[in-house]
């Protein structure tokens, strides 16, 4: 059931090269492209490793002080309903991080969430199999299995995971959460399976920034694949070689 299908890296490179010759989106005007909208998969169809969901954050469009993505995430998943936890204990799926280059003084503001690693350390260390990666690259915690040992929190280089310290009420139907389990950004898997975008992406666009785009990195025609192909983008802590699904532009 919980067999972890690790996409083949060599195959990934091949697909990457394939992208160079595959047809791109339709050009409407110079610089304006029309990309195919991701189709929702039929409800009874399992997710496939042909897809690799990812996000690209353009930090040049993300402004310091804007918190739209964080607010949208909290609302979407019903976060922030802890009554007794200290601030440092409250669940955070996504947070804003302000960077300042010590020498140049350049500043960046960027959202950081679970990076949906291709080779996730959280999955490596999980003793129960609760941390797992779906075939389409989304890393999740199966809270039916999680024993709350928090090894994954220690292993995650991005501090992406939170532990629920208390009994909760008022959960959203699509995001069950409870005491004693670890949780993190789900890439809004409930939306993605319906063919919708994650809540943060939607909120950022609605706010006019459009700093985060979401899509299938394996689909050469998707906007995200085109962007990462055309512009330099990087991973946070690229040195770890985790091949994250969340990439950043401008840092």
């Amino acid at each position: 059931m919980s067999e972890h299908k690790q996409p083949d890296l060599a195959r990934r490179e091949l697909l990457g090269r394939g992208a160079a010759i595959a047809a791109a989106g339709v050009t409407l005007a110079p610089g304006v492209m029309l990309y195919g909208v991701a189709q929702a998969k039929p409800a009874d169809e399992p997710v496939s490793s042909k897809v690799r969901w990812g996000m690209l954050v353009d930090t040049t469009k993300c402004s310091s002080g804007c918190n739209a993505c964080v607010e949208a995430c909290d609302k979407e998943h019903g976060l922030g309903n802890e009554q007794h936890s200290r601030d440092g204990q409250r669940t955070q799926y996504i947070r804003k991080v302000e960077l300042r280059h010590k020498f140049t003084g350049a500043t960046h503001s960027l959202p950081v969430m679970c990076q949906h690693c291709e080779t996730p350390p959280c999955v490596d260390v999980c003793p129960t199999g609760a941390s797992f990666k779906r075939a389409d690259g989304i890393v999740l915690v199966d809270r039916h299995i999680c024993i709350g040992c928090r090894y994954c929190m220690m292993a995650c280089p991005y501090k992406a995971r939170s532990f629920v310290h208390e009994a909760l009420t008022d959960q959203r139907p699509h995001t069950p959460r409870g005491k004693g389990c670890v949780e993190s950004c789900t890439l809004c898997v409930h939306r993605v399976d319906e063919g919708r975008e994650p809540a943060c992406v939607e909120a950022c666009a609605a706010d006019g920034s459009r700093a985060i785009i979401f899509g299938d990195l394996n689909d050469p025609n998707s906007e995200i694949a085109q962007r990462v192909k055309t512009y330099a983008s990087s991973e946070i802590r690229a040195d770890l070689g985790l091949n994250t699904g969340v990439r950043y532009q401008g840092i």
Partner: protein
């Protein structure tokens, strides 16, 4: 032990028969209240669902969680869609006495591992927790096997079978 078995078989028998018919005044055994659901027929026969709903749910939960299969049949969300009114069976609609479909039976049967420590107890619009599994109620004692026995033998002060606060 013999008494326990007797009582258990009584409970099973009572559950198998139509609950409202027996739950009426004069019934010797207190029974859980089963609020009415949408539609005529559940996804399987009632008897089958009574015995096996947890197996169906568990199977479907693994498929949903790990493979993203989100069909409605056997999904917990769909149970709630039919069995629990969004507009609060507990608060709105004056149906408070009827309680929550799943929780009523779970309390009656002493099932402490139910889904609702994590899952919402109501369909979308007003997703809220049943008072029973609110943190306050969680502190309150869950019925242990003795408490359950007492109930079965006829502790009748609680006619709905639900420990309302």
């Amino acid at each position: 032990m013999k008494r326990l078995l007797q009582l258990l078989s009584m409970a099973v028998l009572a559950l198998t028969l139509s609950a409202p018919a027996l739950a009426g005044e004069g019934g010797r055994t207190p029974l859980p209240t089963i609020p009415a659901a949408k539609g005529d027929q559940c996804v399987e026969d009632t008897a089958d669902m009574r015995r096996n709903h947890m197996k169906y749910l568990k199977h479907h939960r693994d498929e949903t969680m790990h493979q993203g299969i989100r069909t409605e049949k056997y999904s917990l969300k769909q149970c709630l869609e039919c069995h629990v009114p969004a507009e609060g069976s507990m608060a709105a609609g004056g149906k408070e006495s009827e309680g929550h479909f799943c929780v009523n039976c779970h309390v009656y049967a002493g099932v402490t591992l139910d889904c609702f420590e994590c899952h919402a107890t109501k369909p979308e619009t007003t997703a809220q927790f049943h008072p029973l599994v609110s943190p306050a109620a969680m502190k309150a004692e869950r019925p242990d096997s003795n408490g359950l026995l007492n109930r079965l033998v006829g502790v009748t002060e609680n006619k709905t079978g639900v420990a309302h606060e």
